[in-house]
Symmetry: C2
Subunit: 342 residues, 2 copies
Amino acid sequence: MAEDRRLDVLRAIVEDYVSTKEPVGSRALVERHALGVSPATIRNDMAALEEAGLIVQPHTSAGRVPTDKGYRLFVDRLATIKPLSTPERRAIETFMQDAVDLDDVVDRAVRLLAQLTHQVAVVQYPSLRRTALRHVELVPVSERHLLVVIITEHGRVEQRTLELADPLDLATVARLRMLLNVAATGRRLADLDAALAGVADEVEPESSALLRAVIGVIEDTLAGESEERVVVAGTANLVRGNTDVARSLSPVLEALEEQVVLLRLLTDAAEDEGVSVRIGRETRHEGLVDASLVSSGYGADTDTGGPAVARIASLGPLRMDYPGTIASVRAVARYLSRILAN
Amino acid sequence: MAEDRRLDVLRAIVEDYVSTKEPVGSRALVERHALGVSPATIRNDMAALEEAGLIVQPHTSAGRVPTDKGYRLFVDRLATIKPLSTPERRAIETFMQDAVDLDDVVDRAVRLLAQLTHQVAVVQYPSLRRTALRHVELVPVSERHLLVVIITEHGRVEQRTLELADPLDLATVARLRMLLNVAATGRRLADLDAALAGVADEVEPESSALLRAVIGVIEDTLAGESEERVVVAGTANLVRGNTDVARSLSPVLEALEEQVVLLRLLTDAAEDEGVSVRIGRETRHEGLVDASLVSSGYGADTDTGGPAVARIASLGPLRMDYPGTIASVRAVARYLSRILAN
DNA sequence: ATTGGCACTCGGTGTCCGAGAGTGCTACCC
DNA sequence: GGGTAGCACTCTCGGACACCGAGTGCCAAT
C-alpha cells in the first residue's frame, strides 16, 4: 500500500541523511534503497511527507531533510534497535570491570558511553535521596567544628562541616554517632525523617541541641542541589561534523556546564518509559533545539520496572544515529545497574 | 634610542593585536599610539622585529602578528600588570564567601576564574600528598568488605573499598581505627610512611594482616593517579572569537578531558616562579600550540614562598590579554590560599 | 497509481576585476 | 646615520557574473 511506502521513504531519508549529512533527493533514494519505484513516484511521496510536516527542504533545489516530527515518527515507529555487537559488549565488559570505587565507575561509564556513541555523554551519580544509607560518621575537627560524613550503599560519600555554638564533648559525639547509625543504616534517605525522629527521644537533653544540628545538616545535604552530581565527557565530539560551530556549539557547551540545566533535562526525561528520546525542542531548552538527548535510568531494579536511582544520557545532533545511540545507552545503563547490584 | 622604540612598537603591536584580533599595520600603529614618528619609520622597525623573529606577517599585504617569541618578550619585559579593579575584587569576595565545603570552594573558584578571564579555567584539588591528614575512618560494610575513608585538613575526602580474605572482627577494626588516627592525624600524607610503620609494632599479630592491608590501601590512594583531581569551567568561552574552530578547538577540548594531560601541564608549570606563563609550544603539548596557559600555585603559605598545595590555571588563545589574565589568576590563587588557611 | 518528460529554481563554484591595505625600496633631508 | 616621503608592488577580500548540476513540481500518458 502507498501509505506504507511513504513510511519506508521517510525511514530511508532519515537513514541516508544521518549517514551522509546531506539533504537527500529522490534519485539518490531509489539508487540506494530497493524501493522498486521511480524517482517521480518518490517525489510524490515526498510532497506528501512534506505536507505532513515530516520533512522539509532547506531550499528549492535541495533534497529533503527530516523535521523534529519526522525523527520522532522514525524513532517511535520505524527504527529497529539493533543489539550491540559482541565486540562492543566485550569492550564494555573490559572497560568497566576493574573500577575501584564509585567515582571510578561513574568516570569510566561516562567515557565509555562517549566513545560508543561518538557524542557527548552524561552520567548522574546515584541520587542520595533514593539510595540507602550505609554509614554516618561524625569527626570532631576542632572544639567547635564537627565534620559530618554520609556514606551510601553505592559508596557515594558526602561531607559537610558543622559549626557549633558550644564546645564538643567527645563522649556525646561517640554516643550520637552510634545512635544515628543504628537508626539510619540501611534506610533510604527519603525515609530518614521518621527514623531520626525516634532517636531524639532516646537522647539526654544536653545533647539534643547537637543532635538536632547534625540531623539538620544531614537533611540539608539531601535537600540541597549539591545532592545531585553529574559528570560529562566527550565534548570534543561536538566539533566533529559540525558546520556553523559558532552559533550551534556555544549554547550546548554552556548547557553542559550548568548542572542545573543538565539536571532538569534528566528529570524531564525521567517521565518517559524505558529509554527516553527527546528530540530538538522536546528537550525544552533553547540552546538544544538542534540536539537530541537519549537517556535511560539505571539502578539495581530498573530492568524489572523498579525505580531508577539516577540516569545516564547521550547528547548529540538532531541528525544522530538513534538506533545505535539507544542501544548503547541501554547497554551501559544495564551494565551500571548490574555493577551497583553486586 | 632606536632600540627602545622598537620594543615600544612590539608592545603596541601585541596590545593592538590582542584587542582588535587583526594583524596590525604601520599606519594604524602611529594613529593609535603616540610614537612620534612616521609609518615609514615604523616599517623599518617592524622589519627589524621580524628579522629578530618577534613578529610575522600572515601574508604579504597584511599587517604584523606577534610570534610565540614576541609574546614571550612582551610578557617578560614589556607587560605591566595592572591590579584588579575594586569592583572585581569585590566580585571575588562575594562570589567565594559562602562556599559550604571544599567541593563548593573549588567549584566556585573555577567558575569565577572562567568568568574573570573569559577563558577556560582549571583548578586542581589540594594534593593529598602535600596536605595534612585530619582523620582516617574504617567502616565495616559487610563481613569481608571494609571501607577506608581518608579526610584531609582542607576537607577533601577520599574513600576506597578493601576486600578481605578473613571475616572482620569489629573490636579489631575499632582498635586499628584508634591507632591509625593517633599516629596519622596532623601529618602530611607524604610523611605518613614513617608514622604508620610505628603502629605496626603496637598491634597483636592476628590483626597485623588487616593493618597492613589498610596501610596498603591508604598508600595506594596517595600514589594512584586518582590522587589528583582537576575541574574545568568556561569551555564555552573557547568558541568566542575563534575562526577556524574545527581544527583548533577539537584538540583543546580533548586535552581538557584528559586529566593526565592537564596534570602534566600543571606540573610542568610548577617549575616556574610565581605566576607561570606558558606560551604556545612552551606548553609542550601539540594540541595547544595555539594556546597559552597562565597558572599559579596556591596554598596557605604560597605568598611567603611556601610550597603550593595545588595549582589553578587559565587557558586561552595565544592572543590573550596576558596582563589581565595574570592579575586574575594571581588574585584568585591568593584568595583560595586565604580560604584554605582559615 | 505510476511514470517519463520537461521547464524551472536555486545554491555552489569558478573567474574576473577593482578597491584597499600594507609593504619594501629608494631617494632625499637633517 | 636616522628619519621621512613617495612610489611601485603584492596580496587579500568582496562583488558581479555566468554556468553547472541537483532537485523539484507538474502534466500528460500508461
